[in-house]
């Protein structure tokens, strides 16, 4: 049983709670679990020092972790980590770093794992139309989808060692165009509310934004909405040619549920659909379906949310 090394996921400079899920995933593979925290300040490792089931925490300190250069991330991590099977969270940046690290160590990589049975790892293929189980012989690098494993608890007091590392940075950021709005991106959100052509106009997306603000959700869109209305940017598109998302809750409003849209969101933990057509395919995938126009349903939805959470 080889060592398992969990790389803590960083979101806006702090350790993302899904890191506890990675520890569970590592335990499912077996072996001793070390958590490595890429950080600019070793105190960032405090977030994981209480995790149960962890034998060691290594805070790897480097300026490269303030940026997005995956080469720098991989070289800094590599220099500070023992050998073993390495687990990352399957986010866009971490998958990139994971690929680099695997290549650097001459290992193979298995991305987007959703189930683990020892050395057998299962990931969705063909945009979720099937699953593939692979057997891993020896060490590998693995990325694990969020919201699939339940996280380990905390209450332990793990030793934290600090390692200074430098990374080999290859790219240079020239400019960052901030998002037009301060809205969450669909690829970062735990709850997403998306609108389709059934919203009737881009202005009506303000009703989705109001719900999103109440529950801390991101606003997404179908391709029909993105293609029809200039005001709805492609960055909001969920689906086969948009983003693949895996939130706890996905709310589809005025979206028919075409196969290409499903490809991007079918693995969401819970799906709510609001659609006036009872035969819309989205209802076959919804945990909770509301057959109604959004004009009727959304105000009620919004009021109920506000009184529950407000």
């Amino acid at each position: 049983m080889t060592n398992k090394i969990v790389i803590a996921e960083l979101t806006k400079g702090t350790v993302n709670a899904s890191t506890a899920e990675l520890v569970s995933a590592a335990q499912a593979m077996g072996g001793d679990v070390t958590v490595v925290v890429p950080c600019t300040d070793a105190s960032m490792a405090d977030a994981v020092s209480g995790y149960d089931g962890v034998s060691k925490v290594i805070a790897v300190k480097s300026d490269v972790f303030a940026g997005n250069d995956s080469s720098g991330w991989a070289s800094a991590l590599d220099s500070a980590m023992p050998a073993g099977t390495v687990l990352f969270l399957a986010t866009a940046r971490s998958k990139d770093v994971a690929s680099r690290l695997a290549a650097r160590r001459g290992l193979s990589i298995v991305q987007d794992v959703v189930s683990i049975d020892g050395n057998n790892l299962t990931s969705p293929i063909y945009s979720g139309k099937a699953n593939q189980t692979v057997t891993v012989n020896g060490d590998a690098v693995v990325s694990v989808r969020a919201n699939v494993f339940s996280g380990v608890g905390s209450g332990s007091s793990n030793d934290v060692s600090v390692v200074d590392a430098s990374g080999d940075v290859k790219t240079a950021v020239q400019d960052v165009m901030e998002r037009a709005s301060a809205r969450l991106d669909v690829s970062e959100a735990n709850i997403i509310i998306s609108g389709g052509r059934g919203m009737g106009s881009p202005a009506n997306f303000s009703h989705l934004e109001a719900v999103a603000d109440t529950i801390g959700a991101a606003v997404g869109a179908s391709r029909a909405a993105v293609d029809t209305w200039e005001e709805i940017p492609h960055s909001m598109q969920v689906g086969q040619t948009g983003k693949t998302v895996n939130p706890n809750l996905y709310i589809a409003v005025g979206i028919s549920g075409a196969i290409q849209h499903l490809a991007g969101m079918r693995s969401s933990k819970y799906i709510v659909a609001i659609n006036k057509d009872a035969d819309a395919p989205i209802f076959q995938h919804a945990d909770y379906g509301i057959v109604a126009t959004w004009e009727e349903a959304l105000p009620v939805f919004q009021d109920a949310l506000s009184s529950l959470l407000g």
Binding site: S108, H234, D287, Y288, A292, E295, F301
Partner: protein, 258 residues
């Protein structure tokens, strides 16, 4: 043609674009005996590879040089190379050895590295992820093996001594200068893949696929089985807008997501 020699004589960009054959993304997928059955499924070029070809062609149009489309695959994968040729790439190359079957990422990237080095590549474009695996491992992994820079999920590019790419980051969209040589993985973005014209299609018919081989380490990740995703338990459906408050209650009490 001896490309290494050509590279020595004239210094110009040797742009390589990676293309992969995958099942038609509209096709229904069936599993038979623990394996996906693709026998009746039409195969096509992975959609993001079209964006990679478009970006590679624009690179050549801006700086000069040649574009070579390359796939690692058995003989049946040549059609996607012809499709790339019809869009306007200069050369088409297939890399294979009949002793190979499923290459894991380590084996595939080793083969790609060796092939790209022997072609003298100076910039490599690929899809952000292939429509079969959805992995997104090839671009960054290959860059690491070559010792090159990389950028992923690229949605726009300007070409010069370096390539300045646009890519989404936490804070928004970043413009990032990527020094060459580099591997750039392309998402759907500013560039729409051009359609092949009649001349392109005629040229593609006549074009020769160059064959290459390379050495591949043994694969340590082996496909064990395929399965259909577990069917979701039937959901609950409610009629009328007023039911939305009931759904909110269920999201709190039953699903536990609020």
């Amino acid at each position: 043609m001896n490309r290494t020699l050509l590279g020595d004589l004239i210094e110009m960009s040797t742009i390589i674009v990676l293309v992969k054959q995958v099942p038609d993304t509209n096709a229904k997928i069936a599993v038979q005996g623990g394996r996906v059955d693709l026998s009746t499924v039409k195969m096509e070029m992975s959609p993001y590879d079209g964006f990679a070809i478009e970006t590679a062609l624009r690179h050549k149009e801006a700086t000069g040089g040649t574009v070579t489309a390359l796939t690692v695959g058995a003989a049946g994968t040549e059609k996607i190379l012809k499709d790339a040729k019809a869009m306007g790439v200069d050369n088409i190359v297939r890399v294979w050895d009949d002793s190979w079957s499923d290459l894991d990422s380590n084996a595939l990237q080793s083969v790609l590295k060796e092939s790209i080095e022997s072609l003298g590549g100076t910039a490599v474009y690929c899809g952000k992820s292939a429509a079969d695996t959805g992995a997104g491992s090839t671009g960054p992994g290959l860059a690491e093996r070559l010792g090159w820079a990389n950028a992923s999920n690229v949605i726009g590019a300007e070409f010069g001594d370096a390539v300045t790419v646009s890519m989404p980051v936490e804070a928004g969209v970043a413009k990032v200068s990527v020094p060459l040589p580099a591997v750039i993985s392309c998402d759907k973005g500013d560039f729409k893949p051009r359609k092949a014209n009649v001349k392109g299609i005629m040229m593609a018919k006549k074009a020769q696929v160059e064959l290459m081989t390379a050495s591949a380490p043994a694969s340590t990740v082996v496909v064990a089985s395929h399965s259909m995703p577990a069917a979701k338990p039937a959901g609950k459906t409610f009629e009328g807008g007023s039911s939305a408050s009931q759904v909110v209650q269920l999201l709190r009490d039953e699903a536990n997501v609020l």
